[in-house]
């Protein structure tokens, strides 16, 4: 039995379109600035606020994840006149844990003074966004590790397609925190220098922080209010390796199945923004999956520029993929020198056929996700 997408076209259902974007990253404080910086080949990797080897892509002022999510959400919903019915789904791995380190230190010394537990729960950024936008509708979090932003996108799109939400906001967010810094260090996955996705000399990942937001509506609702669809969310495929808690299947089995579920019997996209963390195992597994399912596709990747933003990463990848559909140029893979992986990697900004595009992600727990996007036709 073929794996079905967790979101995709359904008989009688109208397309779900993306009509607003928001992004806060160390490379740009809005989607346009981010895309320009990516195409210019810039990287935000620099000194990290924690000890030990490795660089990070940091925002100034150690912002809380919720604040980043709210800022991105405000950008994405700028043109939306009615926000009371807006549902919010936000992917995150650590919520507002960054910034609570002092609270945890105090609690370790005095167990009667707990840190603000509610701020580190996974639904907190979503709830903060909902309240800030004045929505009365539900809000929740998704925490599937590094696929969180893409799974949030699928859930939000499903709410719109099923008629539960007149509009929904999908987000991904994470801010740097000691837990993830030390955790990836303990696993030996942090690169000593800048990460080099898909490079033969890759030595691990670099962490980053940021937020992305994508506004989803039925195509007819967007048309009625005069909003221009930026992309059609065509399908989202999701699959599990069922093999290891943190290491990917060496052949990218789960990602291959996720891509196949998203593409179905349709035309495969000619380009993809890959997860590409810069770790030896992940990049090799992903390359095998991409080679098997999207042969000849042009491949871009963002983590050499933005670091690995964990819960935000897959949402940022999807957001930039929407911009590629709009502009027709795939940003280059920063940090790439030479690769043994046999992919058609974008070494410079690449003009591509922008009718269809994809972003991919993979996570601890063995989950993989593929997001298929389509450029809206005239009049949609």
């Amino acid at each position: 039995m073929a794996l079905a997408p967790v979101f995709g076209p359904r008989p009688g259902a109208e397309p779900v379109v993306i009509t607003g974007l928001g992004a806060v990253t160390p490379l740009g404080a809005d989607p346009e600035a981010l895309y320009e910086a990516l195409c210019a080949g810039r990287s935000a990797l620099g000194p990290a606020p924690y000890p030990g080897p490795g660089l990070a892509a940091c925002l100034p002022g150690r912002p809380a994840a919720s604040a980043l999510a709210v800022a991105a959400a405000r950008q994405a919903t700028r043109g939306l006149p009615e926000r009371r019915g807006l549902w919010v789904v936000c992917g995150t791995t650590a919520a507002d844990l960054g910034g609570l380190e002092a609270g945890w230190a105090a609690y370790a010394a005095d167990p009667s003074a707990p840190p603000a537990l509610e701020r580190q729960l996974g639904h907190h950024p979503a709830e903060q966004v909902r309240a800030a936008l004045g929505s009365r509708a539900p809000a929740w979090g998704v925490s599937t590790a590094c696929t969180s932003g893409a799974v949030a996108l699928a859930q939000a799109a499903g709410l719109v397609q099923d008629g539960l939400a007149p509009a929904a906001l999908a987000l991904g967010v994470d801010a740097l925190c000691a837990l993830t810094w030390e955790g990836f260090g303990a696993l030996g996955l942090r690169a000593p220098g800048p990460c080099r996705p898909f490079d033969a000399g890759r030595e691990g990942l670099s962490l980053g922080e940021g937020a992305a937001a994508l506004l989803l509506e039925p195509a007819s609702a967007a048309r009625r209010r005069g909003a221009r669809p930026l992309a059609v969310l065509e399908a989202v495929g999701l699959a599990s390796d069922a093999r290891d808690l943190s290491a990917p299947h060496p052949d990218g089995e789960g990602l291959r199945r996720a891509i196949q579920a998203a593409v179905g019997g349709g035309e495969p996209p000619g380009w993809v923004i890959a997860h590409a963390t810069g770790t030896r195992l992940n990049d090799a597994a992903e390359a095998r999956a991409l080679g098997a399912t999207l042969p000849g596709a042009a491949v871009g990747a963002l983590k050499g520029a933005l670091g690995h933003t964990l819960g935000a990463a897959a949402a940022l990848d999807a957001l930039v993929a929407v911009q590629v559909l709009q502009r027709g140029v795939l940003p280059p893979v920063i940090g790439l020198r030479e690769s043994e992986l046999g992919l058609d990697l974008a070494r410079a900004p690449r003009r591509i056929d922008a009718r269809w595009g994809m972003s991919t992600s993979a996570a601890f727990g063995g989950g993989s996700c593929a997001v298929l996007l389509r450029r809206p036709e005239e009049g949609l």
Binding site: M1, L3, A4, V6, R10, T93, E101, W104, A105, Y107, A108, P111, P114, P115, L117, E118, L121, G122, H123, R130, S135, R136, A137, P138, A139, W140, G141, V142, S143, T144, A145, V151, Q155, G158, L159, D162, L164, A178, L179, E182, G183, F184, G185, A186, L187, G188, L238, A239, S240, D241, A242, D244, L245, S246, G254, R257, A363, G365, G366, G367
Partner: protein, 274 residues
């Protein structure tokens, strides 16, 4: 409330006290703990109580279509004990252990479940705070409508920080329910968002609350979840299990300015149950 109605079967439900789900609404908790099978002692040492609860709970269940079955794992707090242990260690100048970090992510339990059961389909982890169960049910219903079936698994555990923050221990608990589109016997479920709760109808109306928000007015006869199951977000999944195992009723959790409301109706005789 409109929306699709799906069949729902309880695969397991367990809480610290060990009494069967069908009794969870009838009286005070009690009874002898049930045996803990499934995981060998070595594996059990490596996983959290929360993950063990889920993996062992579903240990003997025969799940349909493991290559494609969608799973929605719902947890309000995630691997709270592991996270607390790590954060305490880091706060005291210690280092993170690789296994401890791997085991602290929110989707650890569903990843272990996919390993144990060979589940290779979609696995989503939804963290909805105090509407975790009903939001997860809403998502599982959507997936079951799309592909025919979906597995909803929920659970939470307490930790010292939870007790310190809320003044009560958050007891371990979890349950799993299989949702099926089309005509099925047994319990039927419908879930949706409402701005105001309807009057209590057939069966009990169990109502959750956000302990950090102002109390909301409740319809006459509504039963506060915390009074029966404690303040843990696991109360929602335990209540849903109890409604399915028992005679039906409704579960409401605060969501936005309104409520996510699940209505469970029993058609046909009670199943023997887990």
């Amino acid at each position: 409330m409109t929306g699709p109605e799906l069949g729902m079967t309880l695969l397991f439900g367990r809480r610290a006290q060990g009494d069967p789900p069908a009794r969870w609404l009838e009286g005070p908790a009690g009874g002898a703990p049930r045996p803990e099978p499934a995981l060998d002692p070595g594996a059990r040492r490596r996983v959290s109580a929360l993950s063990a609860c889920v993996v062992e709970g579903l240990g003997a269940a025969a799940l349909p279509q493991p290559d494609t079955l969608p799973v929605v794992w719902t947890t309000g707090l995630g691997e709270l004990q592991a996270t607390e242990a790590l954060l305490r260690s880091l706060a005291g100048g210690g280092r993170a252990r690789p296994a401890a970090f791997r085991g602290s992510v929110h989707n650890t339990a569903v990843a272990l479940l996919s390993l144990a059961q060979g589940l290779r389909g979609p696995a989503e982890t939804l963290v909805g705070g105090w509407c975790t169960t009903t939001a997860g049910l809403l998502r599982a219903v959507a997936l079951a409508q799309r592909v025919g079936q979906a597995l909803l698994v929920g659970g939470d555990e307490g930790a010292p920080v939870f007790e310190a923050a809320l003044g009560q221990p958050g007891a371990l608990g979890g349950a799993a329910l299989l949702l099926e589109a089309g005509p099925t016997a047994g319990a039927r479920v419908r879930v949706g968002w409402v701005e105001a709760l309807p009057p209590t109808g057939r069966g009990p109306l169990l109502v959750g609350a956000d302990p950090w928000a102002a109390p909301r007015p409740l319809p006459a006869g509504a039963l506060p979840l915390a009074a029966r199951f404690g303040p843990t977000p696991a109360a929602g999944i335990l209540a849903l299990a109890a409604l399915v195992a028992g005679g039906g009723g409704a579960l409401a959790e605060p969501a936005g300015e309104g409520w996510l409301l699940a209505e469970v109706e029993r058609r046909g005789p009670l199943a023997p149950g887990p």
